[in-house]
């Protein structure tokens, strides 16, 4: 009896240590799979907006993802609803669409149709308007606005500036 309880005790001690070690190993494994610091550090991109042509889509690269930057013509801005205008990035008098150019359905890159002022995702037929708002399913939500900061006529992607924070407070950015 004394013997078996001593074995029980040893078993429990071993079990406890094993569980602790297992947790530690799991934590290390989780951390190993996180993006590397070099990957995270490369997460900022600067784009000069002054050269942008209206109604011509610019595609920049940020964190490996395509970023759509589209200068809107005054007519386009005039036709917009309030909801759409709330998503515009305004630099001086110019209104821009700035968003991650990946369809919110499964992540394909929608194509811009300058004559129709909208985006078509060829993958499953989703559509977005010129403010990146989804207008035809399957995409369930608008294209994402990346964190940005405006410095004069340049936009810095990857940093949260006051304009971005304002959009966030207004609930434009989830």
């Amino acid at each position: 009896m004394a013997d078996s309880s001593r074995r029980d005790f040893m078993g429990k001690v071993f079990g406890g240590w094993a569980a602790l070690g297992g947790l530690g190993a799991l934590y290390a494994a989780k951390k190993t799979w996180d993006p590397l610091p070099s990957v995270k550090a490369a997460g900022f991109t600067k784009v000069d907006l002054s050269a942008a042509e209206p109604n011509v889509l610019n595609v920049e690269k940020w964190r490996g993802k395509p970023i759509f930057i589209l200068k809107k013509t005054p007519e386009m801005v005039a036709k917009q609803s309030e909801e759409e205008t709330a998503r515009d990035v305004v630099v001086g008098k110019d209104h821009f669409l700035v968003c991650i150019g990946l369809c919110t359905h499964l992540g394909c890159i929608p194509a811009y149709r300058p004559d129709r002022h909208d985006f078509k995702c060829a993958c499953h037929g989703g559509e977005f308007d010129v403010s990146g708002i989804n207008t035809l399913p399957p995409p369930p939500s608008p294209m994402v606005i990346p964190p940005f900061k405006i410095e004069g006529t340049t936009i810095v992607l990857g940093e949260e500036g006051p304009e971005y924070k304002k959009m966030k407070e207004a609930g434009v950015i989830a």
Binding site: W33, D34, R63, G64, L106, G107, C108, A122, C123
Partner: protein, 404 residues
């Protein structure tokens, strides 16, 4: 220590140390197989053989492949295809085997469904087989990433995005799986490791388990007849081989197995030498480009049916339907409530169920390949709904089934 005598042959020497005669008897000579099974039962051996081909050709590819985002594409499409002598052969063998292995798996699965080989006592055969199917799918997907072409990249993007689980928006999880914001170096090396080491290991272990699950319930037969294997084996061993309902696995049944394998190999090498391109997507001959999506993204043919179940629904219901399609086959032994172990043709309405399911999956496969527009979307939606409805109906249909 056991007692050792001077051995007169290598076999004896080994037998004293390894019991190889016992092993051979248990695994081969006295492993009993029913006589009334047709060529469809040879698919297991065809699969084992194809897996062997995949491993060997994979080893040759591995000697020149470079798991680096800048080098991977050229190491496959230039070094292996142009420079390495017979590199093209290994690549085509690997690619074609990766594709036909799914054709054979599907035949194997549907044979099992048709003859009720998943019924009472054989549940684990079915479940371990489904686990094999899932690991083969992961193996195929991770392998598809390695040439780092356009389809590799975008398939990687789309499939990993599924892990954000729709409206739950678990983007952190997706980035953690990729090790980057988009598929990149971390992603490629990760999938390389999975493809050449971890998953093959899992597959080999599961093949062992799958064989193990067969040993006690024994393999089913064309009539679903319950055979007393001990009784029949005794007859066989007593020399009444004509009367016995069973034969030895080796070399009696094995000879039939290998005959089917050799026919299969004719078909396989015909594809390898003359039609290897069916297993390759032309889009994957463009190097990966994160700023350009191919106009139409679709998976390899063997995933099309489940992809099409995802596609016609809105995001969240689509994911749920997709998840349903992935797991529902596992539950087959428990959803089929009928006590009958018999071919579908003798099970009344179950036969209808079987053929509708098969046809429906073919329709889904075809629609998955076509662009998701107009009438194709509608047909796809109907077929997806039919698929789900069939599985929901199954317990009700089979409960009413009369004993045969």
């Amino acid at each position: 220590m056991a007692h050792f005598e001077k051995a007169h042959s290598l076999e004896e020497w080994l037998d004293q140390r390894l019991a190889i005669k016992t092993l051979r008897r248990v695994l081969a000579e006295e492993y009993w197989i029913p006589k009334n099974i047709n060529f469809l039962w040879a698919m297991g051996m065809v699969l084992a053989f194809t897996f062997g081909i995949l491993v060997v050709s994979g080893i040759f590819l591995l000697m020149y492949y470079q798991p680096n985002v800048d080098l991977a594409f050229d190491s496959v499409n230039y070094t292996i295809m142009q420079e390495v002598e017979f590199g093209w052969l290994w690549r085509h063998m690997h690619a074609v085997a990766a594709s036909v292995v799914f054709l054979i798996i599907y035949i194997h699965m549907f044979t099992g469904i048709y003859y009720g080989s998943y019924k009472k006592g054989r549940e684990l055969i079915w479940i371990s087989g489904m686990l094999l199917f899932v690991s083969f799918s992961a193996e195929a997907f991770s392998g598809y990433m390695l040439p780092w072409g356009q389809m590799s990249y975008w398939a990687g993007m789309v499939i990993t995005n599924l892990f954000s689980l729709g409206s739950l928006e678990l983007n952190g999880l997706v980035e953690w799986i990729r090790g980057d914001y988009v598929p990149g170096q971390a992603f490629l090396t990760r999938f390389f490791m999975l493809h050449v080491f971890l998953l093959p290991l899992v597959i080999m272990a599961l093949i062992g388990l799958h064989f193990g699950t067969l040993r006690i319930p024994h393999v089913n037969n064309q009539d679903g007849e319950e055979i007393d294997f001990d009784e029949e084996a005794k007859k066989y061993l007593a020399g009444k081989t004509k009367e016995a309902k069973v034969i030895r696995f080796a070399n009696d049944f094995l000879s039939k197995d290998m005959f089917v394998v050799s026919i299969f190999l004719i078909f396989y090498f015909y594809l390898v030498f003359w039609h290897f391109d069916f297993a390759m997507d032309p889009i994957n001959f463009d190097p990966a480009d994160g700023l350009k999506t191919p106009p139409h993204i679709y998976p390899e043919w063997y995933f099309l049916w489940s992809y099409e179940i995802l596609r016609p629904f809105p995001k969240d219901p689509g994911l749920v339907a997709f998840g349903f399609a992935q797991v529902i086959f596992f539950l087959l032994p428990f959803l089929d409530k009928s006590p009958n172990v018999a071919p579908a043709s003798r099970r009344g309405i179950f036969a209808v169920w079987f053929w509708v399911l098969l046809l429906d999956m073919i329709v889904l496969t075809v629609m998955g390949k076509l662009p998701p527009q107009g009438i194709y979307s509608t047909i796809g939606l109907v077929a997806a709904v039919v698929f789900i409805a069939l599985w929901i109906l199954l317990p009700f249909i089979t409960k009413k089934e009369k004993a045969v």
